[in-house]
Subunit: 339 residues, 4 copies
C-alpha cells in the first residue's frame, strides 16, 4: 500500500505550489491528501499520521503526534523559517528530515535587492515622482546625489540562501562584497568570494548595506541607534529579511535627518501604521513585504518539495530544501509578521 | 616647444572632466589652453590651431580650419556622438583621430538599464507610491503582475558600448540575451554570447526590450505603431538611447492600453511637454535623461581622454575612446536633444 | 574543564593538516591529544573517549565505543569518504555530526580535470615526447587531431563536490555542461547550470567525459564494455574518482583501438601492474593518483576541520565539511585503494 | 558588374579557411578569384587589381600597385601580423582597411596557455613519463613540487587579443591577474580587471608568467639574463607569442639550473636545433608552434574575413578583424618564423 503525503500548506494553497503536471508527479510518490484554505483539522491529521511518510505544511507536530507517525520521513515547511510547532529533537533522533523551503524565495529577493539598491543609488522613484508632478530636472543636474554601484563596497548582514543568490548578481558590477554572519567562519565567506567584517566596520564602511539575517533569539534589535549611527552619509540601507533585527524607531529617526537612504520591505507590524512618519520621507523606498512572494517563487518551491520527496522515497537524501539543524533551528524566530 | 592641447569642452566643463591630479597629468602632455562656460571664441581657436596637437570638445573643424592645424593628431568629442561639425574625410586622410567619449557613459547607462527593468518587473515605484498614499497591498497579492528577470528573454536593439556594458550585468540573472543590430554580423554577436534576431522577432518574443541604438540616418522612427504592436503583454520596453528611434506618439498610445510597460529616459523634446498624457500612466517609469550623466561618468571620460592623448603623444594608437569610422560617422545623428 | 579533541589522523599527519598557527587555533577549542604515524592505540582512544567532544581521523567508532563518549559531538574523517568503521545510525540518533573532508580536495581535482582535458584535446604530452625525441612536427600539421574545448559538450558522471568545483572552471570555455547523477533531481542540476542526461546519452554525445562519482554499492563497473562502446571517436574519457566505477579491462581494450582518448588518475590496484599494456598507449595520459593530494588541499582540509569544530563548540552547526547522510553514507564504498 | 575579391591566402589554402557553405557566402559578395599552393603570380594580381574591392592574403601591395586598384577597400592578411609588404600610409590616406586575422587564433592559444600552466604546475607530462617508465610515484609524495593555480598571481607580458581571450579562462581559478603592456594605459588594464605592473615587478612576483607580446621593433630580447633572473623559484614561464622577445640562450641557461619551469611553443628557428640542450630538461614542456594553428582557428578566421568583407560591401565598418594602426603597424615584426 502506498504511503500518505499530507498537504497542509495553509497559508499557501495547493495550486499556488503545484501546477497540474507537478501534482501528477507528486501523486506518483504516494497517496496525496490535501486540505486548502485553512489549517487541516487535527482529527484529519491524526487519522492520516499512521500512514504518513511526509507532511508538507506548518502542521503542529509535537512529540505525542510524532509518536503516532511511525513511517514519517519528512516534514516540509513551505515557508522560509522554522517554528516552534515541531519537536525538532525528536525528529533528529528518528532521522525525520525537517526541511524549510525558504531557498525558493532567494532568487526573487536577490533580484529585488539589486533593484532596491539601484533605485536608491540613482533616485529612480524620486525622479519618477518629480516627472509625474511636472517638476523633473534633466540630465546631470538631476544626478548630483546619484552614484554607481560599480566598485562600491557592499555589506551583507547575514549570509544564507539570500546572500548566496545576491552575491553573483552583484559581482559583475565590480562591487567589493563584505559579510557579517556570526554563524559562519571567515574561511567559508572567503571561499565564497566575500570578505568577513565585524558588524560595526561593515556599517561604517559600506555604501550599500543589506539586512538579510532571519530573526533569531540572538539578533533582536541588533541594529540600534548607535549601530545605525555608523552608517556613512548617502549610504543605502536595505532591509529585506525581518524588521525585528532593527530598532525601527531609531532607523526612522536616522532617516528623517536625510543622512543616509533606505529601502524597506519588512515592517514591525504589517499592515504598518497608516500615519507613520517614514511614509513621507523622500530618501526612503517603501515596499509592502513584496520581495519574495511571487508566483515564480511558489512554483519553484513546489518543484523543490517534490524533488526532495522523490529522493526520500527512493531512499536518498534531500538536496534542494534547507534542513533544520539541531543547533540553529531552535534559535530561529522569524514568523509570519503580526497582521 | 610643447604642442598645444585645446580644451573647449562646453557644455561640459574642465572641472567636471578632470580632477586636479588629472589636470596635472594632462599638462604633462602639452601646453593646455582651456575655455569654460561657452564655446571657445573662433578667434582664439584659430590662433591656437597652428601649434595644436589635440582638441577636446565640439569645436567646429571643417576643412579650412583643419588646414591651419598641421600638427593636429586628435579631435576628441567629450560627448557620446559624432556631429557634422568636422570634416571626417579630411581627418581620415591625414590620420587625425576623431574620437568620441560615449563609452564613458556605458557603466552608468547599463546600471540604470538593470534598475529600470527590475523596477518595472516588480512594480517598485508603483508599490512605493501606494505605500506613500497609505494604500499598500502586502505580500503575494501585491505581486500578481510581478515577475523575475531570471531566465527571461532580453532583447537589445543596438549593440554598441551600452550593450557591451549591459550584457555582463544581465548574465547572472540567467537571461537569454538577443540582439538586433544591422551594423554587426551574426558571428560577432554569437561570439559575445548573444543570439542575433530580426527586429520583429525580437519585439515579439522578448520580455525585456532595450532600445540602445544611437540615432542614425537609417533608424528614425524605426519602432512605429506596427512594430510596437508586436510587443508581448506585460513586456517591458526600456528606451535609453535616443527617442527619435521610436514613434513616440505610437508608443504613448500603446502604453495607454496598459498592454505592456515602459521605462523612458529620453524624449522627443527635452524638457518634455508639461501636460503630455504619458506622465500619468501607472505602467510607465519616467526619467529625465538621467541614465548616463553622473559625476562618475565624467571623471571616467576625463581619464579616458588623457589616457588616449598620452598614447598619441607617445606615438601609439588610442585604445579607450571610440574612433569615428569613415562609413558610420556620417550616419550618426544623435545630437544634444532640442531644449 | 576543557573537553578533549582527539587527533588520530593516520594516514595523514598532524603537520600535514595544520600549520603552527592553525594548531594554536585548534588548541583554543579544547584539549588536543594527538597520535601520529599510525592509528591511535585502542587503549588510548578508550581512555580519552569519556571527555572527547570530537575525533578527527578514521578511528573505529562502533556502538559500544560511542556509548563511552557521552560528550561526543563530531567525528571528522580527514579523507574523502565514509567507511563502515562508524555506527552511523547511532551517531544520527544522538546528533553526533559525522563529517568527511573530501571537499578540501575539490579545487585540486578540478584543476587537474581541466589540465587533463586540455592535455588530451591538444596532444600536449604526446607533442612533448616527440620533441624530446627530436621528432617534433611543427604547426598546423601537428594539430590534425587537436581540438578546442570551446563550445564542446562536456559530461560529468557524478556531480558532487568535484563537479561543483569543476563546472565554474569550464564555463568560460563556453562548454555545454551535462551531468548524470542518479542521486540528484534534474531541477537541482538545471539550477546549477547543467543539463541532466541519462548515462548512455551522455557517453554517446559528449566530447569530454569526466568520471567523478565516488564508489558506491550501486555503481561497481557501471561503465562496462557496452557503455564504453558508446563513446564517440576522439572523445576524451577522464577517470578521476575511483577506478571501480569502470570495467578497467574493457576500458583498456577500447583504448587499444585508439578510438577515443583517456586520462587516468586512479587504478584498480595501486601500485598498478608494472607490465600493464595501458602503460604504452599513445592516446592515454597516466597519473598515479595525484589529482587531489597536494599540500594546499591538506592545509585547506585542516582549516575546514577547525572551522567546523569551532562552530560546533559554539553551539552552531558545521558548514564546511560534508555530513554523512543516513541514506547515502552506508552506500559509500570508496576506500583507500589497495596498495 | 560585380567587384573582384582576390584570394591569395598562401601559405594558407582556400579550403582551410572556408567551408563550401562559407565560400558560397563569400561569392555572394563579389567575383572571387583565388590562387592556391603558392603566392598568386604578379601578373595575375596586376590584371585583377583594377576591379578588386578586397585582397585576402599576404600579397605585396606597395604604392605603385595600390595606384592600380582604385576600388580597393580592404586588404586582409590571413595571419596574425602586419608585414612590411604593404604601403600602410597610402592605405590609411585612401581609407583602405588593412586588417589582420590574428584574433582568430586567440581561443586556441588561450586554451593552450591554460593547459601549459596546469601541466607545469602539476607535473602532468613528467608524471606521465614516469608512469610509462614504470617508475610512477603515487599520491601525495608525487606532489611535493605541485601547486594549484588557485589564487596565484599570474602575469601577462603583452595584453592584446591573446590576453583578452586568456583572462576570462583564468578568472574562475581565483588568480590575481597582472599585466605589463607599454602600449596600453593603466586605466585600460584596470577596466579589464587586470592590475598593471612594471615588467621587472611582474617577473619577480608572479607564479605564472605568460609571454604574449608579438615581436616589435621595441621588444627584441627584452627578456634577457637579468630579467629572467628575477623569476621566482618554481614559477612557470610560458612562451607563446614569439621567441625573439626572449634571449633564448639566457632562458636555456636559467632552466638548466632547475630554478623555475617553462612551457615553450615558439623557438628562435623552427625547426629547432636537433641537439639543443633544452630538449632534455625535465622542468620544460616543449611544443612545436602548435598553440594557434588548428582547423577550428582557420574556420573562425574564414568566418571573420567574410563577415568583415560583407560589412565593407554594405558600406559599414569592419568589426571582427584587427585594423592596422598608423602608429603600431610599422613596429610589428612578427613574421613567419625562419624555417
Amino acid at each position: 500500500m502506498k504511503s500518505t503525503i499530507i498537504l497542509d500548506p495553509h497559508p499557501r494553497t495547493v495550486d499556488l505550489l503545484f501546477s497540474k503536471a507537478e501534482l501528477r508527479r507528486l501523486r506518483s510518490l504516494g497517496k496525496v491528501v490535501s486540505h486548502d484554505g485553512e489549517r487541516m483539522p487535527d482529527a484529519e491529521v491524526d487519522r492520516l499520521l499512521p500512514d504518513a511518510i511526509a507532511i508538507v505544511g506548518q502542521t503542529t507536530l509535537l512529540r505525542e503526534r510524532l509518536n503516532r507517525a511511525p513511517k514519517l520521513r519528512a516534514i516540509i515547511n513551505v515557508e522560509g523559517n522554522f517554528q516552534p510547532n515541531i519537536d525538532y529533537a525528536g525528529c533528529l533522533e528518528r532521522g525525520i528530515y525537517v526541511l524549510n523551503a525558504g531557498v525558493a524565495y532567494s532568487y526573487a529577493v536577490a533580484e529585488m535587492a539589486v533593484g532596491f539598491a539601484l533605485a536608491m543609488a540613482r533616485g529612480i522613484p524620486q525622479a519618477d515622482r518629480r516627472f509625474r508632478e511636472g517638476k523633473e530636472v534633466y540630465g546631470r543636474i538631476s544626478n548630483e546625489e546619484s552614484f554607481l554601484l560599480r566598485r562600491k563596497r557592499v555589506g551583507l548582514i547575514g549570509y544564507g540562501s539570500l546572500g548566496r543568490a545576491l552575491a553573483p548578481l552583484l559581482r559583475p558590477f565590480g562591487c567589493e562584497l563584505y559579510a557579517y554572519d556570526p554563524w559562519l567562519p571567515d574561511g567559508y565567506l572567503v571561499e565564497q568570494g566575500l570578505s568577513p567584517l565585524p558588524l560595526r566596520e561593515l556599517l561604517a564602511s559600506c555604501t550599500v548595506i543589506y539586512v538579510l539575517a532571519g530573526a533569531t533569539t540572538d539578533n533582536r534589535a541588533m541594529l540600534g541607534r548607535e549601530e545605525l549611527n555608523l552608517i556613512k552619509k548617502d549610504s543605502i540601507f536595505v532591509l529585506l529579511s525581518r524588521a525585528s533585527v532593527v530598532d525601527f524607531d531609531a532607523l526612522t529617526a536616522h532617516l528623517k535627518t536625510g543622512r543616509f537612504r533606505a529601502a524597506i520591505d519588512v515592517f514591525p507590524e504589517e499592515p504598518f501604521a497608516r500615519n507613520h512618519s517614514i511614509r513621507t520621507l523622500d530618501n526612503v523606498l517603501l515596499s509592502a513585504h513584496r520581495a519574495g512572494g511571487l508566483a515564480e517563487s511558489y512554483q519553484l518551491m513546489g518543484e523543490m518539495v517534490i524533488d526532495d520527496l522523490a529522493l526520500i522515497c527512493k531512499g536518498l537524501s534531500p538536496v534542494r530544501l534547507q534542513r533544520a539543524n539541531r543547533e540553529t533551528a531552535p534559535k530561529m524566530q522569524s514568523k509570519p509578521v503580526t497582521r
